[in-house]
């Protein structure tokens, strides 16, 4: 479970940055950047709270 959450967190962080890079490369529009950043933000906070700073065994 912890590893799945960590994987989702990693993807969410990448998903927060990637839209701006794609915008820089003229691949997507600014509204699309903003949409995907919100989705990635939700994914980050939902997944990272499941594993970051949790005592072992919990």
């Amino acid at each position: 479970m912890k590893h799945v959450a960590q994987l989702i967190s990693g993807l969410a962080l990448a998903g927060t940055l990637l839209p701006s890079l794609l915008f820089f490369a003229d691949r997507i529009t600014l509204p699309q950047v903003q949409f995907w950043m919100v989705i990635a933000t939700i994914a980050w906070f939902a997944s990272s709270s499941l594993w970051m700073e949790r005592p072992a065994g919990k």
Binding site: A12, T16, L17, F23, V33, Q34, A40, E53
Partner: protein, 471 residues
């Protein structure tokens, strides 16, 4: 569960050394510093550099050097003392200065922390302005300009205060959770801003930086012109109160090793380099789109680049910075009234910070305020440094107030007052700008403390044991 337990969810070791079982690893400090220095206030400071007419070379070169000097200050001045004494700054000062003098210092420190936290609340409240469309303050506004603004600051301040009141561990956890995401969003601010300013490849960066973003020249009306040395000293001294001024003794007393001071680099090079540049870029974009729109409003700037995620970032970034600031202010005030509950003191501190946050003048003059803040608290950092490392070697008594039973160590008190007098005179006479005066001020304070200790100290009949300098 009794009342004290309910209101003191975490034992914070305010008046005793932090025991080994409570020491923390490097990761806690990396998370805290990264979170604390990638903050809402970065969205104020970055634009103010542009308003100060800084050039690209001066800004980037000055930030690299100034941040390096700041990290060295944490590593070689703050952390070694913190990991040997393992006391809060306030308790350590009480041993050196005596309870009456330290009350005065704690009052000054707590007030400055409250004002700084207020600026952070101000920044986060600008995010609510985007959602609720109330009138927001301009660059030259001094007072709250609408009921919507007051309510927004009240809502943010209440939220921040409640979290700060629950203590260091909760705070560190929240900062750790938010820090990676905030860093990425700040990077996105810069990338999106650069593209909107017309940059299409990485190779264009320097040309864009010099000709579009940090063009140099005259500052905006009412702003001081910034050169390489202004940027260097600002970057070095903007956290002077916590490194050279030793406020972060209260943080690094939890560190297992002194070299954990290097964790401050996470805050400096991500927050005080990348985040300041990103915020500058957003402001340059705003000025390019409307040269008359000089107001620095982090919420709308972040929203224009990253939408809802940008707004959330402004709120969270303000939160993770205001939390430790309110916490530190709470420690300062609690040292004045040691029997008071830290929970209640922190809530009260948060209320004062919230009130300060309603006045936009503090955030809009943040460069000057931060320099003033460092100058006021710096002399006591010099006193702690000299007392810990030098006095015993010079045949004088460290922790003199504790050992002599004095409640007011005149050597420390006069050092503080005279140094502040000298620094203030230099600034008011126009000899030195406030951004530079704290460097000579530190040496004035260090020399004064040695000389005054020589004059004021009397031989003690039965000296108590002194602190160990062993690692």
């Amino acid at each position: 569960m009794n009342t004290a337990e309910r209101h003191e969810p975490v034992n914070e070791y305010e008046r005793e050394p932090v025991p080994p079982h409570a020491w923390l690893g490097l990761k806690s400090f990396l998370g805290q510093y990264a979170g604390e220095h990638v903050a809402g206030t970065e969205l104020m400071i970055g634009p103010l550099f542009i308003a100060a007419g800084v050039s690209a070379m001066d800004l980037i070169g000055g930030l690299l050097l100034g941040n390096f000097l700041a990290v060295l200050s944490w590593v070689f001045l703050t952390a070694p003392i913190a990991t040997r004494a393992r006391l809060t700054l306030y308790f350590q000062l009480e041993k050196i200065c005596g309870s009456r003098l330290v009350r005065l210092y704690n009052l000054a420190n707590g007030i400055m922390f409250c004002i700084l936290a207020g600026a952070m609340v101000t920044v986060s409240a600008t995010a609510l302005g985007v959602w609720f469309k109330f009138p927001m303050p301009g660059l030259n506004d001094l007072y709250p300009n609408s009921m919507g603004w007051v309510l927004a600051v009240l809502a943010m301040g209440t939220l921040f205060s409640l979290v700060a009141a629950y203590g260091y561990r909760f705070l560190a956890r929240f900062a750790n959770l938010a820090a990676p995401w905030m860093i990425v969003v700040f990077a996105a601010f810069g990338i999106i801003g650069l593209r909107q300013l017309g940059m299409t490849s990485i190779g264009d960066f320097w040309a864009t930086a010099e000709t579009v973003i940090w063009k140099g020249g005259e500052p905006l009306a009412g702003q001081v012109k910034f050169t390489f040395w202004h940027v260097t000293f600002f970057a070095w001294f903007c956290n002077m109160a916590v490194h050279i001024g030793m406020a972060d003794l209260s943080v690094f007393r939890y560190a297992r090793k002194a070299w954990y001071g290097i964790a401050s680099a996470a805050g400096m090079y991500i927050g005080h380099f990348m985040a300041w540049l990103s915020a500058s870029i957003l402001y340059a974009l705003q000025l390019r789109q409307d040269p008359a729109h000089v107001d620095v409003l982090p919420g709308p700037m972040a929203y224009s680049a990253c939408g809802l995620a940008g707004l959330l970032c402004v709120i969270v970034a303000g939160w993770t910075t205001a939390n430790p600031t309110i916490y530190r202010a709470g420690l300062a005030f609690q040292a004045i009234v040691p029997r008071s509950s830290r929970f209640r003191v922190t809530l009260l501190t948060g209320a004062v910070a919230t009130l300060a946050g309603m006045f936009p003048a503090i955030a809009m003059k943040l460069l000057n305020f931060v320099a003033l803040y460092g100058m006021i608290l710096m002399p006591m950092g010099a006193v702690v440094f000299v007392d810990f490392w030098l006095l015993q070697r010079l045949g004088l008594q460290p922790n003199y107030a504790e050992r002599s039973g004095s409640t007011f160590n005149w050597a420390a008190g006069l050092t503080w007052f005279v140094t502040l007098g000298v620094c203030t005179a230099l600034v008011l006479d126009g000899h030195t700008q406030i951004f530079f005066v704290s460097l000579p001020g530190w040496f004035v304070a260090a020399i004064l403390y040695v000389v005054l200790s020589k004059i004021c100290q009397r031989p003690l009949a039965c000296p108590k044991a002194v602190h160990s300098m062993a690692p």
